[in-house]
Structures are given as structure tokens and as C-alpha cells.
């Protein structure tokens, strides 16, 4: 294995591992944020707002 190939492979393993983990966490974060927003929209309006209307 030439030095260039070995260095590229080792750096790709480390960098790739970190980036894959970050991508997975960000995707889960987006999903949870979307769920929270959907729950906020589905929540009924407070009683005071109905009285005013």
C-alpha cells in the first residue's frame, strides 16, 4: 500500500465516520422538530381565543 493510499484511506475512515454520524443525528433532529411543529398545529386553540371571537 503506497503512503498516499494509506493516508487517504485512514483519513476517509475517520472523516467519513464523523460525517455519517452527524448526518444521522441531523436527520433525527429534523424529524423530531417536524413532529413537534405538527403537534403544535394540532393542539386546540385556548378557550380565551374562542370567547373573543
Amino acid at each position: 500500500m503506497s503512503p498516499a493510499v494509506a493516508i487517504a484511506a485512514a483519513y476517509a475512515v475517520v472523516g467519513g465516520g464523523i460525517l455519517l454520524y452527524l448526518r444521522r443525528i441531523r436527520r433525527r433532529l429534523r424529524e423530531v422538530e417536524a413532529d413537534m411543529q405538527a403537534m403544535d398545529r394540532e393542539r386546540p386553540a385556548p378557550a380565551e381565543a374562542l370567547t373573543i371571537r
Binding site: 494509506a6 493516508i7 475512515v13 465516520g17 454520524y21 433532529l29 423530531v32 422538530e33 413537534m36
Partner: protein, 221 residues
Amino acid sequence: MRAQPWVGGAAVVLLAVGLYIGLVVSPPDVFQRDYVRIMYMHVPSAFVAYLAVATVFVTSILYLWRGRDAYDHVAHGAGELATLFTAVALGSGMIWGKAVWGTWWTWDARLVTTAVLFLIYVGYLLIRELAEDRRRGARLAAVVGIIGALDVPVIHYSVVWFRTLHQPPSIARGDIQMAPPMIVALVINLVAFVFIYAYLLLVRLRLERLEAARAGADLPA
């Protein structure tokens, strides 16, 4: 002011500087030639794995003692990062081993104890994933995280206690056996990796808090 973007920005800048010095400025090693540049990714990965395990150790003790979910959230995130960084340290080490020793793997004390740490933390994550009662799973995982952390001193001193193929520490107390540009590159990359770890942990904690809030909102009133 949120720390997350600043920590992420500092990590990117430090990593860019560290990579430039490590790949361009620092000289090749007399024996290993350019293969030595793998050290600038491999050693920081292993160091951050130790740091993540230390975080799990401290926060697991605090969780078992105080029972606060906040400690468990940090332990869970750090446990994932301990697994990740142990895996990439093993992967980059195997490539370095193939290039320099001529083999991907050998039953060497340093390699075996590191692989054991990886397996312990895979188990730690599985316990959390498979537990039917979240709190019971968290308590059991905390015990595994504490016991697993005891492997770190064994890994560190394995090259001193046993006759190994893996090299002994190049930076021991009061004795540095490296050229100054190599030390600069290594230290900058070590600091960059600490910032990467802090950034990933902050993102993971945000996810953990939001997931806990969602689980609370799902419960019937």
C-alpha cells in the same frame, strides 16, 4: 447565546489548520516515512474516545447518585461518541498497521483491549435500545458504562505492561520523542478533535432533549 455554532466553527478552522500542518508542513518520519501522517487522525480519534468514555463514567455515576435525567442524556450522547471514535481509531489503526507492520490485525494487547472497549460500548448502546423500561435501561447502561471505563487505563498502559507490536507513548512525562513540527500538528489536531467532540455532543444533547419533550407530549393528559 448558543455555543453550538461557535464550537462547530472553531472545530472546522482548527481542523483545517491541523490538516495543513500535518499533511504539508510536518516532515516524514525517518522509519515510517509519510505513513506517520496517519497519526494526525488516529491519535486524536483515540484521545477523544477516552474523553467520551470519561464523560460516560462521570455522568453515569452522577445519574446513579442523583437520578437526574440530564446526566443520563449526557451519558447517552457520550456513549454513542465513545463507540464512534473507538471504531474510527480502530479502523485508521488497522490501515496504519497494514502499511507499517504488514498486517491489518494482530492479537496485540493494545489492539485487543481497544476492541474490547468498542464491544463494551456497543453493548452499552444495545442495553439502552432493547430495554422495555427506559429508566431501568438507563440504570443498567450506567453500570456498564462505569465498568467499561475501567478498560481505558488498561488500554493506555498495555504498551508498558505487555510486550507489544504497538509503539509505546511518544509523549511520556518529561520525555518527548518527536520533532517539533510533528508535535504542533498533533496538538492542533487533538484540540480540533476535542472541539468536534464538543460540537457533536451539543447536537446530540439537543436531539435528546427534543425527543424527551416529544415523548412527554405524546403521553395522554
